[in-house]
């Protein structure tokens, strides 16, 4: 049994959100840079160069990569031999988010009620928490700050088994086509196949944070990733949606067992400001 004061959780959460708001991941930066060299559209190329310059300014000056610093989403794996002390665990997580957004000059974009009041909560809380209990005595965090230009372009479809590989591929491509310029292409596309409605969506969200250039270990799914990516980059949408061959940087797919009668597919779109960070306490 390991005792962890919840103040350590607050500190870690704050640090991870600050890092992700200012410092783009090396995989994303390398992918945008390499696209800026291969992109045939001159105006598309200039957009990608602006993005590289933007990453550099954000990192050097410690300012937000994008003004939409997103809604805070955390995947937290809690070791079952951990005992939290000194307060409420979930409140400690929200406090970390609150401190990061207040002290880091990040935009507060959360409203209290989705339909009627829509009043800004003023500190970007509450965050969205996904908890799992795992063996061990550590706490692992994967945090993402999700902008809504791209979140709004995401989609879930309750496919049927007969839709097969082609049905899934077409749904992914159609979602990207419909999104067009809105999610700030080049985008990173997370896909969850199987499970239930919400499990597919959770997998898709996690997949938006999988490293660019990594592949699903199952070669059939890896091929689906590659095929969908190539097809999306033939749509012509291009950087910022104004034409070109760089529409998506990655299609990351994962799957889960599902029911004999179903095949849920969730497509979560993330923009080039793909902010996420991982850490452990």
């Amino acid at each position: 049994m390991r005792e962890i004061p919840v103040s350590q959780i607050t500190k870690k959460v704050k640090e991870l959100f600050l890092t992700s708001a200012y410092e783009i991941g090396p995989d994303v930066e390398a992918a945008v840079r390499s696209a800026s060299e291969s992109e045939p559209s001159p105006i598309g190329k200039s957009v990608l160069c602006q993005l590289c310059e933007n990453y550099r300014i954000a990192r050097d000056e410690r300012v937000a990569i994008c003004q939409d610093t997103g809604m805070a989403v955390l995947f937290i794996d809690v070791g079952q031999d951990v005992h939290f002390t000194g307060g409420d665990f979930e409140e400690a997580v929200h406090e970390g988010v609150r401190q990061a957004y207040r002290e880091g000059y990040l935009r507060k974009s959360v409203v209290n009620d989705p339909l009627f009041d829509r009043k800004n909560t003023g500190d970007n809380t509450p965050a969205v928490l996904h908890l799992r209990i795992v063996p061990g005595e550590k706490v692992h965090f994967l945090v993402t700050a999700k902008g809504f230009g791209s979140e709004n372009m995401s989609a879930v479809k309750m496919c049927v088994p007969a839709d097969g590989e082609e049905g899934v591929r077409n749904f992914i491509i159609d979602t990207a086509r419909k999104a067009g310029p809105n999610p700030c292409p080049p985008m990173i596309i997370g896909v969850g196949i199987g499970g239930t409605l919400e499990q597919a969506a959770l997998i898709a969200k996690r997949m938006t944070a999988r490293a660019i250039g990594s592949h699903n270990p199952d070669p059939r799914y890896a091929k689906l990733e590659a095929d969908a990516l190539a097809a999306i980059n033939r749509l012509g949408i291009g950087p910022a949606g104004i034409g070109g061959e760089t529409t998506a940087l990655a299609v990351n797919i994962d799957f889960a067992p599902t029911h004999i009668a179903g095949m849920p597919v969730a497509v979560n779109i993330c923009c080039h400001a793909a902010r996420h960070a991982e850490g452990e306490v």
């Binding site: 602006q50 933007n54 939409d68 935009r107 809105n182 012509g236």
Partner: protein
């Protein structure tokens, strides 16, 4: 594709000369506003009341900046997606607003109003928010301070980088650009 360095507010001639696909660098004052501010402006118009600022011949940037850190006029300040303003836009164009800056497609009604009243729609690169913020030299709140980041501001910009997405003659880079690179 042409490149222009233009002063704000844009003249009628500027607006007519720009074509979808041109690059522009803007210098001068621009208004800001997004969802909540647009809703209030249109409410005023529907009630026959006056707006808190003059929109004639002005440019509006759809943005909700991040808070400014010490020594900066604004925090990161990239464009927000424009279609959410579409329902309100034709009324503002009718009043003489001649330039909008945002990202993403617009409705047919907005495009028609742009032709009818002479307006351009420019794109700032979504997500290039730290880079764009560097061109914003000052920011002051004009109205609706209570809306925080969504308040109407006046920005003074210098060489603000933008791309003509839709011009006053029906040109639309979101159609012509992708068309050129589509390989389906």
């Amino acid at each position: 594709m042409q490149e222009y360095h233009l002063h704000l507010p844009l003249t009628k001639e500027d607006v007519q000369a720009l074509r979808a696909g041109d690059m522009v660098y803007l210098t001068g004052p621009m208004l800001t506003g997004r969802d909540a501010a647009h809703k209030r402006l249109i409410q005023l118009l529907n009630e026959g009341k006056e707006l808190p600022m003059d929109v004639r011949g002005q440019a509006i940037y759809y943005v909700g900046p991040a808070p400014a850190s010490p020594g900066h006029a604004v925090g990161s300040a990239g464009p927000t997606t424009s279609y959410r303003m579409d329902a309100y836009t034709p009324q503002l164009l009718k009043l003489g607003l001649n330039c909008m800056i945002g990202k993403g497609r617009r409705s047919d009604a907005v495009r028609q109003a742009m032709r009818d009243y002479g307006a351009v729609y420019l794109g700032a690169v979504g997500g290039a928010a730290a880079l764009i913020a560097r061109s914003i030299k000052s920011a002051e709140v004009l109205a609706y301070e209570d809306l925080g980041t969504e308040a109407i501001h006046r920005f003074t910009v210098e060489n603000f980088p933008a791309i003509v997405l839709m011009d006053a003659h029906g040109g639309n880079l979101y159609e012509s650009g992708p068309e050129q690179y589509r390989k389906e």
